[in-house]
Amino acid sequence: MSIGHTLLGLLESGPRHGYDLKRAFDEHFGQDRPLHYGQVYSTMSRLLKNGLVEVDGVEAGAGPERKRYAITDAGITDVAQWLARPEKPEPYLQSTLYTKVVLALMTDRDAAELLDTQRAEHLRLMRGLTERKRTGDLADQLICDHALFHLEADLRWLELTAARLDKLAEAVGG
Protein backbone atom coordinates (compact mmCIF):
# COMPACT_ATOMS: atom_id res chain seq x y z
CA MET A 1 0.00 0.00 0.00
CA SER A 2 1.09 3.51 -0.65
CA ILE A 3 2.17 5.45 2.49
CA GLY A 4 2.63 8.57 0.38
CA HIS A 5 -0.96 8.57 -0.84
CA THR A 6 -2.20 7.79 2.63
CA LEU A 7 -0.32 10.71 4.21
CA LEU A 8 -1.45 12.95 1.39
CA GLY A 9 -5.01 11.89 2.01
CA LEU A 10 -4.68 12.62 5.70
CA LEU A 11 -3.44 16.11 4.87
CA GLU A 12 -6.45 16.77 2.70
CA SER A 13 -8.64 17.46 5.70
CA GLY A 14 -6.18 20.24 6.79
CA PRO A 15 -2.51 21.04 7.40
CA ARG A 16 -0.80 18.91 10.02
CA HIS A 17 2.52 18.67 11.79
CA GLY A 18 4.74 15.68 11.17
CA TYR A 19 4.02 14.15 14.56
CA ASP A 20 0.35 14.78 14.05
CA LEU A 21 0.47 12.92 10.73
CA LYS A 22 2.17 9.94 12.34
CA ARG A 23 -0.41 9.80 15.11
CA ALA A 24 -3.34 10.02 12.70
CA PHE A 25 -1.83 7.31 10.51
CA ASP A 26 -1.23 5.01 13.46
CA GLU A 27 -4.70 5.60 14.77
CA HIS A 28 -6.50 4.69 11.54
CA PHE A 29 -4.18 2.32 9.68
CA GLY A 30 -1.24 1.37 11.91
CA GLN A 31 -2.88 -1.26 14.07
CA ASP A 32 -0.21 -3.86 13.24
CA ARG A 33 2.77 -1.73 12.31
CA PRO A 34 3.07 1.82 13.64
CA LEU A 35 4.87 4.19 11.29
CA HIS A 36 8.44 5.21 12.06
CA TYR A 37 9.22 8.90 12.18
CA GLY A 38 11.89 8.23 9.62
CA GLN A 39 9.30 6.91 7.15
CA VAL A 40 7.26 10.06 7.66
CA TYR A 41 10.20 12.39 6.97
CA SER A 42 11.45 10.52 3.93
CA THR A 43 7.97 10.31 2.47
CA MET A 44 7.22 13.95 3.16
CA SER A 45 10.45 15.09 1.60
CA ARG A 46 9.63 13.02 -1.54
CA LEU A 47 6.16 14.61 -1.65
CA LEU A 48 7.69 18.07 -1.14
CA LYS A 49 10.09 17.39 -4.00
CA ASN A 50 7.17 16.34 -6.26
CA GLY A 51 5.24 19.48 -5.30
CA LEU A 52 2.36 17.57 -3.80
CA VAL A 53 2.76 19.17 -0.36
CA GLU A 54 4.21 22.37 0.89
CA VAL A 55 5.54 23.52 4.23
CA ASP A 56 2.85 25.58 5.82
CA GLY A 57 4.87 26.78 8.78
CA VAL A 58 7.49 25.82 11.38
CA GLU A 59 6.99 25.82 15.11
CA ALA A 60 9.57 26.97 17.57
CA GLY A 61 12.36 24.44 18.01
CA ALA A 62 14.14 22.37 15.45
CA GLY A 63 13.46 19.04 13.69
CA PRO A 64 11.24 17.98 10.89
CA GLU A 65 8.42 16.99 13.30
CA ARG A 66 7.98 20.66 13.99
CA LYS A 67 7.22 21.41 10.35
CA ARG A 68 3.59 21.87 9.41
CA TYR A 69 2.66 20.41 6.01
CA ALA A 70 -0.24 21.35 3.76
CA ILE A 71 -1.46 19.59 0.62
CA THR A 72 -1.20 21.34 -2.73
CA ASP A 73 -3.79 21.23 -5.54
CA ALA A 74 -1.57 18.78 -7.35
CA GLY A 75 -1.60 16.68 -4.19
CA ILE A 76 -5.41 16.67 -4.06
CA THR A 77 -5.59 15.56 -7.70
CA ASP A 78 -3.12 12.83 -6.99
CA VAL A 79 -5.19 11.51 -4.06
CA ALA A 80 -8.36 11.60 -6.12
CA GLN A 81 -6.76 9.66 -8.94
CA TRP A 82 -5.35 7.11 -6.57
CA LEU A 83 -8.69 6.56 -4.85
CA ALA A 84 -10.58 6.21 -8.11
CA ARG A 85 -8.11 3.74 -9.54
CA PRO A 86 -9.12 0.17 -8.74
CA GLU A 87 -6.38 -1.95 -7.33
CA LYS A 88 -5.24 -4.85 -9.33
CA PRO A 89 -7.15 -7.75 -7.86
CA GLU A 90 -4.65 -9.77 -5.91
CA PRO A 91 -4.55 -11.60 -2.62
CA TYR A 92 -4.25 -9.65 0.59
CA LEU A 93 -5.53 -6.47 -0.94
CA GLN A 94 -7.60 -5.58 2.06
CA SER A 95 -5.19 -3.23 3.83
CA THR A 96 -4.86 -1.01 0.78
CA LEU A 97 -8.59 -1.05 0.12
CA TYR A 98 -9.28 -0.35 3.74
CA THR A 99 -6.95 2.61 3.72
CA LYS A 100 -8.61 3.91 0.62
CA VAL A 101 -12.09 3.55 2.05
CA VAL A 102 -11.15 5.31 5.27
CA LEU A 103 -9.42 8.10 3.44
CA ALA A 104 -12.36 8.49 1.10
CA LEU A 105 -14.66 8.79 4.09
CA MET A 106 -12.31 11.25 5.82
CA THR A 107 -12.09 13.40 2.74
CA ASP A 108 -15.87 13.27 2.12
CA ARG A 109 -15.46 11.32 -1.07
CA ASP A 110 -17.91 8.56 -2.15
CA ALA A 111 -16.58 5.41 -0.57
CA ALA A 112 -19.38 3.27 -2.07
CA GLU A 113 -18.34 4.40 -5.51
CA LEU A 114 -14.83 3.31 -4.72
CA LEU A 115 -16.01 -0.13 -3.70
CA ASP A 116 -18.23 -0.48 -6.77
CA THR A 117 -15.33 0.38 -8.96
CA GLN A 118 -13.24 -2.20 -7.24
CA ARG A 119 -15.95 -4.82 -7.61
CA ALA A 120 -16.23 -4.12 -11.29
CA GLU A 121 -12.51 -4.66 -11.59
CA HIS A 122 -12.71 -7.90 -9.66
CA LEU A 123 -15.59 -9.07 -11.78
CA ARG A 124 -13.75 -8.25 -14.94
CA LEU A 125 -10.98 -10.54 -13.87
CA MET A 126 -13.42 -13.19 -12.74
CA ARG A 127 -15.21 -13.03 -16.06
CA GLY A 128 -11.93 -13.69 -17.77
CA LEU A 129 -11.25 -16.62 -15.53
CA THR A 130 -14.75 -17.99 -16.05
CA GLU A 131 -14.30 -17.72 -19.79
CA ARG A 132 -11.02 -19.58 -19.51
CA LYS A 133 -12.77 -22.26 -17.53
CA ARG A 134 -15.39 -22.63 -20.22
CA THR A 135 -12.86 -23.35 -22.87
CA GLY A 136 -9.94 -24.79 -20.89
CA ASP A 137 -9.12 -28.30 -19.74
CA LEU A 138 -9.60 -29.66 -16.25
CA ALA A 139 -6.26 -28.31 -14.98
CA ASP A 140 -7.20 -24.86 -16.22
CA GLN A 141 -10.54 -25.16 -14.53
CA LEU A 142 -9.03 -26.08 -11.21
CA ILE A 143 -6.52 -23.25 -11.31
CA CYS A 144 -9.16 -20.78 -12.34
CA ASP A 145 -11.47 -21.99 -9.62
CA HIS A 146 -8.79 -21.34 -7.03
CA ALA A 147 -8.38 -17.80 -8.21
CA LEU A 148 -12.12 -17.30 -8.51
CA PHE A 149 -12.76 -18.39 -4.95
CA HIS A 150 -10.11 -16.02 -3.65
CA LEU A 151 -11.45 -13.16 -5.67
CA GLU A 152 -14.92 -13.97 -4.50
CA ALA A 153 -13.72 -13.82 -0.90
CA ASP A 154 -12.34 -10.34 -1.58
CA LEU A 155 -15.58 -9.30 -3.10
CA ARG A 156 -17.51 -10.58 -0.15
CA TRP A 157 -15.34 -8.48 2.06
CA LEU A 158 -16.06 -5.56 -0.20
CA GLU A 159 -19.78 -6.17 0.03
CA LEU A 160 -19.57 -6.39 3.81
CA THR A 161 -17.54 -3.21 3.98
CA ALA A 162 -19.96 -1.43 1.69
CA ALA A 163 -22.83 -2.54 3.90
CA ARG A 164 -21.00 -1.13 6.93
CA LEU A 165 -19.90 2.15 5.40
CA ASP A 166 -22.19 4.21 7.59
CA LYS A 167 -20.75 2.75 10.76
CA LEU A 168 -17.23 3.14 9.45
CA ALA A 169 -17.90 6.77 8.59
CA GLU A 170 -18.98 7.32 12.18
CA ALA A 171 -15.85 5.61 13.47
CA VAL A 172 -13.44 7.71 11.44
CA GLY A 173 -15.37 10.80 12.37
CA GLY A 174 -15.41 11.85 8.75
Binding site: A120, L123, M126, E152, A162
Partner: protein
Amino acid sequence: MTPEGSLLAAEGLRKAYGPTPALDGADFSIHPGEVVAVMGPSGSGKSTLLHCLAGIIRPDSGTVRYGTHALTELTDAQRSALRRTDFGFVFQFGQLVPELTCLENVALPLRLNGTKRKDAERQARDWLAQLEVDGVDGQRPGEISGGQGQRVAVARALATRPRVIFADEPTGALDSLNGERVLTLLTNAARDTNAAVVLVTHEARVAAYSDREIVVRDGRVKDMAGRI
Protein backbone atom coordinates in the same frame (compact mmCIF):
# COMPACT_ATOMS: atom_id res chain seq x y z
CA MET B 1 -30.81 6.26 -20.92
CA THR B 2 -32.11 3.70 -23.36
CA PRO B 3 -29.18 2.71 -25.50
CA GLU B 4 -29.96 2.11 -29.14
CA GLY B 5 -30.67 -1.45 -30.13
CA SER B 6 -31.62 -2.61 -26.68
CA LEU B 7 -34.16 -5.41 -26.41
CA LEU B 8 -35.54 -4.50 -23.01
CA ALA B 9 -35.10 -1.13 -21.38
CA ALA B 10 -36.45 0.50 -18.28
CA GLU B 11 -36.35 4.11 -17.24
CA GLY B 12 -37.02 5.77 -13.93
CA LEU B 13 -38.70 2.80 -12.29
CA ARG B 14 -40.23 3.48 -8.92
CA LYS B 15 -42.04 0.91 -6.84
CA ALA B 16 -42.92 1.01 -3.18
CA TYR B 17 -44.33 -1.68 -0.94
CA GLY B 18 -46.16 0.35 1.63
CA PRO B 19 -43.98 3.21 2.81
CA THR B 20 -40.67 1.55 1.92
CA PRO B 21 -39.45 2.16 -1.62
CA ALA B 22 -38.05 -0.95 -3.30
CA LEU B 23 -37.12 0.86 -6.47
CA ASP B 24 -36.37 4.55 -6.51
CA GLY B 25 -35.69 5.66 -10.03
CA ALA B 26 -34.01 2.63 -11.56
CA ASP B 27 -32.80 2.46 -15.16
CA PHE B 28 -31.86 -0.65 -17.05
CA SER B 29 -31.25 -1.94 -20.54
CA ILE B 30 -30.21 -5.19 -22.11
CA HIS B 31 -29.37 -6.22 -25.68
CA PRO B 32 -30.25 -9.43 -27.44
CA GLY B 33 -27.77 -12.16 -26.58
CA GLU B 34 -26.47 -10.25 -23.59
CA VAL B 35 -26.18 -11.70 -20.12
CA VAL B 36 -26.54 -9.02 -17.46
CA ALA B 37 -25.97 -9.75 -13.81
CA VAL B 38 -28.10 -7.79 -11.35
CA MET B 39 -26.15 -7.55 -8.13
CA GLY B 40 -26.66 -5.87 -4.84
CA PRO B 41 -27.24 -6.60 -1.20
CA SER B 42 -30.40 -8.32 0.02
CA GLY B 43 -33.41 -6.06 0.06
CA SER B 44 -31.83 -3.64 -2.38
CA GLY B 45 -34.63 -4.15 -4.89
CA LYS B 46 -33.02 -6.70 -7.23
CA SER B 47 -36.04 -8.97 -7.38
CA THR B 48 -38.44 -6.06 -7.63
CA LEU B 49 -36.46 -4.81 -10.62
CA LEU B 50 -36.70 -8.24 -12.22
CA HIS B 51 -40.44 -8.42 -11.59
CA CYS B 52 -40.95 -4.99 -13.12
CA LEU B 53 -38.80 -5.82 -16.14
CA ALA B 54 -40.71 -9.06 -16.68
CA GLY B 55 -44.07 -7.32 -16.39
CA ILE B 56 -45.05 -9.40 -13.39
CA ILE B 57 -45.68 -6.27 -11.43
CA ARG B 58 -46.41 -2.81 -12.67
CA PRO B 59 -44.08 -0.10 -11.32
CA ASP B 60 -45.62 2.90 -9.59
CA SER B 61 -43.94 5.09 -12.18
CA GLY B 62 -41.39 4.81 -14.93
CA THR B 63 -41.51 2.89 -18.18
CA VAL B 64 -40.42 -0.54 -19.35
CA ARG B 65 -40.03 -1.01 -23.06
CA TYR B 66 -39.70 -4.41 -24.67
CA GLY B 67 -39.02 -4.23 -28.40
CA THR B 68 -41.84 -2.04 -29.63
CA HIS B 69 -44.11 -2.68 -26.65
CA ALA B 70 -44.40 -0.32 -23.73
CA LEU B 71 -44.73 -3.04 -21.12
CA THR B 72 -46.01 -0.62 -18.53
CA GLU B 73 -48.92 0.31 -20.81
CA LEU B 74 -50.09 -3.23 -21.48
CA THR B 75 -52.99 -4.87 -19.66
CA ASP B 76 -52.42 -7.73 -17.29
CA ALA B 77 -53.64 -10.21 -19.89
CA GLN B 78 -51.32 -8.80 -22.55
CA ARG B 79 -48.35 -8.92 -20.21
CA SER B 80 -49.22 -12.49 -19.26
CA ALA B 81 -49.33 -13.41 -22.93
CA LEU B 82 -45.97 -11.77 -23.46
CA ARG B 83 -44.48 -13.68 -20.55
CA ARG B 84 -45.81 -16.90 -21.99
CA THR B 85 -44.37 -16.34 -25.42
CA ASP B 86 -41.29 -14.15 -25.09
CA PHE B 87 -39.98 -14.57 -21.55
CA GLY B 88 -38.63 -17.50 -19.59
CA PHE B 89 -38.19 -17.80 -15.86
CA VAL B 90 -35.93 -19.66 -13.47
CA PHE B 91 -36.23 -19.16 -9.74
CA GLN B 92 -34.28 -20.34 -6.76
CA PHE B 93 -36.66 -23.05 -5.57
CA GLY B 94 -40.26 -24.20 -5.41
CA GLN B 95 -41.02 -23.58 -9.03
CA LEU B 96 -41.86 -27.01 -10.39
CA VAL B 97 -45.44 -28.18 -10.08
CA PRO B 98 -45.03 -31.08 -7.69
CA GLU B 99 -47.86 -33.17 -9.12
CA LEU B 100 -46.68 -33.05 -12.71
CA THR B 101 -43.87 -35.21 -13.99
CA CYS B 102 -40.66 -33.46 -15.00
CA LEU B 103 -41.55 -33.87 -18.65
CA GLU B 104 -44.98 -32.33 -18.09
CA ASN B 105 -43.40 -29.49 -16.15
CA VAL B 106 -41.14 -28.63 -19.06
CA ALA B 107 -44.01 -29.00 -21.52
CA LEU B 108 -46.26 -26.80 -19.41
CA PRO B 109 -45.29 -23.36 -20.84
CA LEU B 110 -45.52 -24.74 -24.35
CA ARG B 111 -48.97 -26.10 -23.62
CA LEU B 112 -50.01 -22.80 -22.08
CA ASN B 113 -49.08 -21.32 -25.44
CA GLY B 114 -51.40 -23.73 -27.13
CA THR B 115 -48.94 -26.32 -28.40
CA LYS B 116 -50.45 -29.78 -28.72
CA ARG B 117 -49.57 -32.14 -25.90
CA LYS B 118 -47.67 -34.67 -28.02
CA ASP B 119 -45.71 -31.93 -29.72
CA ALA B 120 -44.98 -30.11 -26.47
CA GLU B 121 -43.75 -33.23 -24.77
CA ARG B 122 -41.50 -34.13 -27.69
CA GLN B 123 -39.87 -30.70 -27.52
CA ALA B 124 -39.68 -30.95 -23.73
CA ARG B 125 -37.84 -34.24 -24.06
CA ASP B 126 -35.25 -32.58 -26.30
CA TRP B 127 -34.72 -29.79 -23.81
CA LEU B 128 -34.30 -32.22 -20.95
CA ALA B 129 -31.63 -33.99 -22.99
CA GLN B 130 -29.90 -30.71 -23.72
CA LEU B 131 -29.86 -29.93 -19.99
CA GLU B 132 -28.37 -33.39 -19.34
CA VAL B 133 -31.37 -34.69 -17.39
CA ASP B 134 -32.96 -36.96 -19.96
CA GLY B 135 -33.54 -39.70 -17.40
CA VAL B 136 -36.09 -37.90 -15.29
CA ASP B 137 -39.00 -37.67 -17.77
CA GLY B 138 -41.53 -39.66 -15.82
CA GLN B 139 -40.38 -38.70 -12.34
CA ARG B 140 -42.01 -36.12 -10.16
CA PRO B 141 -40.00 -33.15 -8.82
CA GLY B 142 -40.06 -34.64 -5.34
CA GLU B 143 -38.22 -37.70 -6.56
CA ILE B 144 -35.18 -36.02 -8.10
CA SER B 145 -32.22 -34.10 -6.68
CA GLY B 146 -32.04 -30.34 -6.35
CA GLY B 147 -29.53 -30.05 -9.17
CA GLN B 148 -31.70 -32.12 -11.48
CA GLY B 149 -34.73 -30.07 -10.45
CA GLN B 150 -33.00 -26.84 -11.33
CA ARG B 151 -31.98 -28.21 -14.71
CA VAL B 152 -35.60 -29.20 -15.31
CA ALA B 153 -36.54 -25.63 -14.38
CA VAL B 154 -33.97 -24.23 -16.83
CA ALA B 155 -35.26 -26.58 -19.50
CA ARG B 156 -38.73 -25.28 -18.82
CA ALA B 157 -37.56 -21.66 -19.06
CA LEU B 158 -35.90 -22.38 -22.40
CA ALA B 159 -38.69 -24.53 -23.82
CA THR B 160 -40.62 -21.69 -25.42
CA ARG B 161 -37.38 -20.28 -26.95
CA PRO B 162 -37.86 -17.02 -25.09
CA ARG B 163 -36.19 -13.75 -26.12
CA VAL B 164 -35.44 -12.87 -22.51
CA ILE B 165 -34.73 -15.25 -19.67
CA PHE B 166 -35.18 -13.98 -16.15
CA ALA B 167 -33.22 -15.95 -13.59
CA ASP B 168 -33.59 -15.04 -9.93
CA GLU B 169 -30.80 -16.64 -7.89
CA PRO B 170 -31.01 -19.73 -10.09
CA THR B 171 -28.20 -21.49 -8.27
CA GLY B 172 -28.96 -20.24 -4.80
CA ALA B 173 -29.94 -23.66 -3.54
CA LEU B 174 -27.26 -25.64 -5.35
CA ASP B 175 -23.71 -26.69 -4.54
CA SER B 176 -20.86 -25.11 -6.51
CA LEU B 177 -20.46 -27.86 -9.07
CA ASN B 178 -24.16 -28.17 -9.85
CA GLY B 179 -24.54 -24.42 -9.77
CA GLU B 180 -21.76 -23.90 -12.30
CA ARG B 181 -23.07 -26.59 -14.58
CA VAL B 182 -26.57 -25.12 -14.53
CA LEU B 183 -25.17 -21.64 -15.24
CA THR B 184 -22.99 -22.91 -18.06
CA LEU B 185 -25.94 -24.74 -19.63
CA LEU B 186 -28.21 -21.73 -19.16
CA THR B 187 -25.83 -19.15 -20.60
CA ASN B 188 -24.74 -21.43 -23.43
CA ALA B 189 -28.33 -22.10 -24.41
CA ALA B 190 -29.13 -18.40 -24.19
CA ARG B 191 -26.16 -17.49 -26.40
CA ASP B 192 -27.12 -20.18 -28.90
CA THR B 193 -30.60 -18.73 -29.23
CA ASN B 194 -29.45 -15.11 -28.98
CA ALA B 195 -31.68 -14.66 -25.91
CA ALA B 196 -30.96 -12.04 -23.31
CA VAL B 197 -30.51 -13.18 -19.71
CA VAL B 198 -31.29 -11.07 -16.67
CA LEU B 199 -29.42 -12.86 -13.92
CA VAL B 200 -30.22 -11.74 -10.40
CA THR B 201 -27.56 -12.88 -7.96
CA HIS B 202 -25.56 -11.74 -5.02
CA GLU B 203 -22.73 -14.15 -5.78
CA ALA B 204 -19.74 -12.86 -7.72
CA ARG B 205 -18.95 -16.28 -9.16
CA VAL B 206 -22.45 -16.40 -10.62
CA ALA B 207 -22.18 -12.83 -11.84
CA ALA B 208 -18.94 -13.79 -13.54
CA TYR B 209 -21.02 -15.71 -16.09
CA SER B 210 -22.45 -12.41 -17.26
CA ASP B 211 -21.19 -10.03 -19.89
CA ARG B 212 -21.85 -7.04 -17.68
CA GLU B 213 -23.18 -6.38 -14.23
CA ILE B 214 -25.33 -3.72 -12.69
CA VAL B 215 -25.57 -3.01 -9.00
CA VAL B 216 -28.82 -2.18 -7.31
CA ARG B 217 -28.43 -0.24 -4.12
CA ASP B 218 -31.20 1.52 -2.23
CA GLY B 219 -33.52 1.12 -5.17
CA ARG B 220 -31.17 2.72 -7.66
CA VAL B 221 -29.26 1.04 -10.42
CA LYS B 222 -25.60 1.55 -11.04
CA ASP B 223 -24.47 0.42 -14.43
CA MET B 224 -20.85 -0.68 -14.19
CA ALA B 225 -20.42 -0.99 -17.93
CA GLY B 226 -17.63 0.96 -19.47
CA ARG B 227 -16.15 1.94 -16.17
CA ILE B 228 -12.77 0.54 -16.88
